[in-house]
């Protein structure tokens, strides 16, 4: 069967124009997808049934037993951590938040190790952004800063920027200037009209220099800044100020390099400064296809986008304290539920070690690095293939992912609702 307008559940671009060919419960063809999408849809490395670690061996367990055990582990914990959420649909995230609430636990999503600093900066100075279509239809200058879309968001350029013709930009490739700022010459940098190569750790200084020039105080810059010549700084600032509509996209190269949230704050303040001259927007290149959805869902239920601690009864948020890495690092949590992410692959070693010591449960369709740390894993349907639900694109546009066929596994929502029901009953709520 051929299904059109399929939503790709890989990265934050959330492309919704894929054409998928299915044969029963198997995907046999992907059109319009990037290499990441092809692997996502065609790859077949699913865990077949729930597994449980006994000593150093795995054994299969029934779904009912696995759900019961997961609930018991969480009920038995004093400080459970519910982590992940970026690779599942909003409905499951919502059940997860209510589960954390009733448990008095901590719930956190993958922002904690990606765009958490961006969120902290936004909480200081706000966020002048827009939907991606604004950029596609209007932008004549686009900057990628510390982001390499060719590798990480392969269709970002063709759907929204360099190769995307828009209403006011009829020939995007010619009419739209591309600036790439990075510490190394990436594949994306090779496409740029202007590649600004900065010394590692130099982002904050370069942003400050650009702000000074935009403010008309360029004379304070007397020589190169973090390896960027004064001439180039002036040229880039000038290009931005003369733009009719400019858009900055930034990635982890900016959020996770020295300065972190202060880098982002500086970039946002540069954007604000540019708005005194023209129209400028700034947007984070969100990674997981629904990490932004987890921020959204957490926000409307708890008030905070990530790192929410219910231990005091109220929702409490303090990044650096209630963030997963810090909780694990302090060896504070005594049980962890991992849903739709892979902390085993992304967290610092000390955190992974703690995850291996405590009872860690993973709800995930695939065997991944976290599998090796956990005690129990429950496989589920893959959202966008055999489960459906809401996803939020990197710019906040909500799109409903499509279910292509009925698979063999329950969805995240179904598993979480069953765990929630057991916990709720045990709590007498």
């Amino acid at each position: 069967m051929r299904v059109e307008d399929v939503v790709c559940t890989f990265c934050g671009c959330l492309c919704d124009d894929l054409v998928i060919e299915t044969d029963g419960k198997k995907i046999v063809g992907v059109e319009n997808g990037c290499t990441l999408a092809n692997e996502k849809f065609m790859g077949d490395h699913r865990l077949k049934s729930p597994i449980r670690r006994e000593g150093d061996r795995w054994s299969e367990v029934s779904l009912n037993d696995a759900i019961r055990e997961a609930a018991e582990i969480l009920l038995d914990a004093d400080r459970p951590l519910l982590y992940g959420w970026s690779g599942t649909h909003g409905e499951a995230q919502s059940v997860g938040v209510h589960l954390a609430e009733i448990l008095g636990g901590v719930i956190d999503n993958t922002s904690t190790v990606c765009h958490g600093p961006s969120i902290m900066a936004i909480q200081e100075v706000g966020h002048p952004g827009c939907t991606l279509g604004q950029v596609k239809n209007r932008a004549d200058v686009v900057l990628y800063w510390g982001a390499n879309p060719i590798e990480a968001h392969p269709r970002h350029l063709s759907r929204y920027t360099t190769y995307a013709d828009g209403f006011f930009v009829k020939n995007s490739f010619r009419e739209r200037k591309l600036v790439v700022v990075d510490v190394r010459e990436t594949e994306s940098a090779a496409l740029a009209d202007e590649f600004v190569r900065i010394e590692p750790g130099g982002d904050y200084a370069v942003l400050s220099a650009l702000r000074a020039i935009v403010r008309g105080r360029g004379e304070v810059i007397t020589g190169p800044v973090a390896g960027v010549s004064r001439e180039q700084l002036v040229r880039v600032a000038d290009l931005c100020m003369k733009a009719k509509f400019g858009a900055i996209f930034f990635g982890l190269g900016l959020t996770m390099s020295p300065g972190k949230n202060k880098n982002i704050r500086n970039a946002i303040e540069l954007t604000e400064e540019l708005n005194r001259h023209t129209k400028f927007t700034i947007s984070p290149m969100r990674g997981h296809w629904n990490v932004y959805g987890s921020n959204e869902v957490f926000c409307w239920i708890t008030g905070y986008p990530y790192a929410v601690d219910f231990a005091r009864g109220i929702a409490f948020y303090n990044p650096g304290e209630t963030t997963s890495v810090d909780i694990l690092r302090r060896e504070e949590c005594d049980a962890c539920l991992v849903v739709a992410s892979d902390p085993g692959a992304h967290f610092p070693r000390a955190c992974a070690e703690h995850l291996a010591r405590i009872p860690t449960i993973q709800i995930d369709p695939h065997v991944n690095a976290t599998t090796h740390l956990c005690r129990l894993q429950i496989p589920v349907a893959v959202t966008g293939i055999d489960a459906e639900g809401t996803a939020y694109r990197m710019d906040g546009v909500p799109i409903r992912t499509r279910k292509l066929f009925d698979g063999d596994h329950p969805s995240d929502t179904e598993i979480l609702e069953r765990i929630y029901a057991i916990v709720k009953e045990a709590k007498g709520a």
Partner: protein, 566 residues
């Protein structure tokens, strides 16, 4: 379902012409009934003020920008938080509470129906998700068309039917309720960092003016026979001297509908400024009220501001930028392709700011100077003027000159030179407050047809019983009790169930989402219109097939069907 009998209630039901009578109200199967059946539950209202459930006709509680207000404001989240208690979930937030926070606080005040003031069609799914998590109020969404390219093109071509067709397709696709225009044309100009300064200025690249958009949309609205009228946030919000723009806009409104207004102007306080700068800003409420008094085809809401901290959020992106240039705190902006814009900044309205004092006075003046309470609804443009939890205080101010004078002593002493407030003697009565907080909203929104806003048999059994005894209270003097009484019902009843008692929510909610489908003849159906489809696929970043909000997002949707007028 078992019945419920409310005995001994002091009922004001303006739509039924009941101006204060002790009577019994019977409820059966979620509706007001002639009798509640034997063995029904009985509530003794003890002569307390009993009104149809409150209706907010303009409030920002759900959707992309509201949630971004939460996202960017942990300080506001910390400023109002409650823990999980009984059936109540954790809540956070003061000016932008979480969805459950909004829902519980509205319930405590006796509100059972809320119109979300602005929903960008492209992001409608988000609004509907939050509606589902706002469980104790029936919700509906104003749908933004102010910078809609297809609308502007149809208006430019003077094609009324096509304008209406775009509205019909969009409302049906996004499960929206009504047409909202926020700074029409200005939000498109903001795509280039510009704004429009007059309703006769052309929108860049589109060759239409706000006046043409407004005029055509009013007619398109009536062509589709939508329950509500065009819901307009005028151009030039918050600009000194903007009352002229507002008066010109009011002049555009024809009288096309005998059941309700033809144009609803929202948060008019923000649009009633005289003067030329922030230094000489003054109230023009008298001019605006006079215009409204002369035109039954127009209805407004106050857009009252109250002193203290809040968050401003609107689709009016350029206005938020101007406000940011004044406040310099933090600024978010979110333009939505082919449709609209939005912006958010936190503000503090201070008694020590003359400008803020003038604004405060103007909202009250509008309510006191508009003669017919059916034409002026009580609202704060929540949370822009103030969080909705301030409504009881506003009610008390409108009912008591003494309270106004007392408050007047606390504000900038120069205020009286710039506003007429302190010369106004009018004190609103219980009936007028009942009109301004539910009955007028039901009429203006056109939702009496689904049983909203009244307690006549067959209506939705949404009832608020306040701990206020009108026989015993003089609101002109006892304003403290009035405030406390309207802040916390004794009972809030939603669709026949007691959902809140003495401020505590006691059951899980099960709200409805009300939306409109205008059934159009084939020549107006754009779903197969080649030009419309082609433009959609070319310029949006979402496929047309993935754009409509699926039924699953409205677990209890209530659809109002309309037909194109012949």
């Amino acid at each position: 379902m078992s019945g419920l009998l409310i005995r001994n209630a002091y009922v004001i039901d303006p739509l039924a012409g009941i101006r204060g009578e002790i009577m019994d109200i019977a409820i059966l199967d979620g509706k007001i009934a002639e009798g509640a059946g034997s063995g029904c539950e009985v509530i003794d209202a003890q002569g307390c003020l009993t009104l149809p459930g409150g209706i907010d006709s303009h409030s920002h509680v759900s959707g992309t920008k509201v949630n971004f207000g939460r996202y960017m404001s942990p300080e506001d989240m910390r400023a109002g938080r409650t823990s999980r208690r009984g059936v109540m979930h954790v809540t956070s937030g003061y000016s932008v509470p979480t969805t459950f926070g909004n829902s519980y606080r509205y319930s405590a005040m006796g509100y059972t129906t809320v119109l979300e003031g602005a929903m960008a069609p492209l992001e409608a799914r988000h609004t509907h998700e939050e509606f589902t998590a706002t469980p104790h109020q029936d919700m509906m969404a104003n749908t933004l068309f102010d910078g809609n390219w297809s609308v502007m093109e149809a208006v430019r071509d003077k094609d009324l039917r096509r304008t209406a067709a775009v509205v019909a397709w969009t409302l049906a696709a996004v499960k929206g309720f009504a047409i909202k225009l926020t700074n029409p044309g200005g939000t498109e100009a903001w795509g280039w960092g510009e704004d429009l300064h007059s309703i006769h200025q052309q929108v860049p690249n589109f060759g239409v003016t706000p006046a043409e958009i407004i005029g055509t949309m009013i007619r398109a609205n009536e062509l589709l026979d939508l329950p509500h009228s065009v819901h307009l946030h005028c151009n030039n919000l918050g600009v000194p001297g903007n009352y002229q723009t507002t008066l010109e806009t009011i002049d555009l409104a024809p009288d096309l509908n005998s059941r309700r207004q033809s144009l609803y102007l929202t948060h008019v306080q923000f649009h009633s400024y005289g003067g030329t700068t922030w230094r000489d800003i003054c109230s023009k409420s008298e001019d605006i009220a006079r215009a409204v008094n002369n035109r039954p085809q127009v209805a407004i809401d106050m857009g009252q501001i109250m002193f203290g901290r809040t968050t401003t959020m609107t689709a009016d992106g350029p206005m938020e930028w101007r406000l940011y240039m004044l406040h310099h705190n933090k600024w978010s902006n979110h333009d939505v392709e082919l449709e609209t814009g939005s912006g958010i900044i936190p503000v503090y309205y201070s008694r020590k700011s003359l400008v803020n004092c003038v604004m405060w006075a103007i909202g009250l003046e509008l309510a006191l100077l508009v003669k017919d309470p059916w034409q002026c609804m009580l609202a704060t443009d929540n949370p822009n003027g103030a969080p909705f939890v301030k409504y009881p205080e506003i009610i008390a101010l409108l009912m008591s000159r003494k309270f106004r004078d007392k408050e007047g002593e606390k504000i900038d002493p120069r205020t009286g030179h710039y506003v007429p407030l302190f010369s106004l003697d009018r004190e609103l009565d219980w009936y007028e407050i009942a009109v301004m907080t539910r009955a007028a909203q039901a009429k203006a929104l056109g939702i009496t047809r689904i049983g909203k806003g009244t307690l006549t048999p067959g209506s939705e059994a949404d009832v608020a019983i306040y701990p206020l005894d009108p026989a015993d209270l003089d609101p002109a003097i006892d304003f403290e009790q009035v405030m406390a009484g309207f802040a916390r019902t004794r009972y809030t009843i939603k669709r026949g169930r007691v959902v809140a008692r003495d401020g505590e929510v006691i059951v899980e909610g099960a709200n409805s989402t009300v939306w409109t489908r205008a059934n159009v003849p084939p020549d107006m159906d754009l779903s197969a219109d080649r030009e419309f489809v082609k433009k959609f696929e070319q310029y949006y970043t979402v496929r047309m097939r993935n754009y409509p909000v699926q039924d699953v997002y409205l677990p209890r949707g209530v659809r109002i069907d309309t037909e194109v007028s012949p």
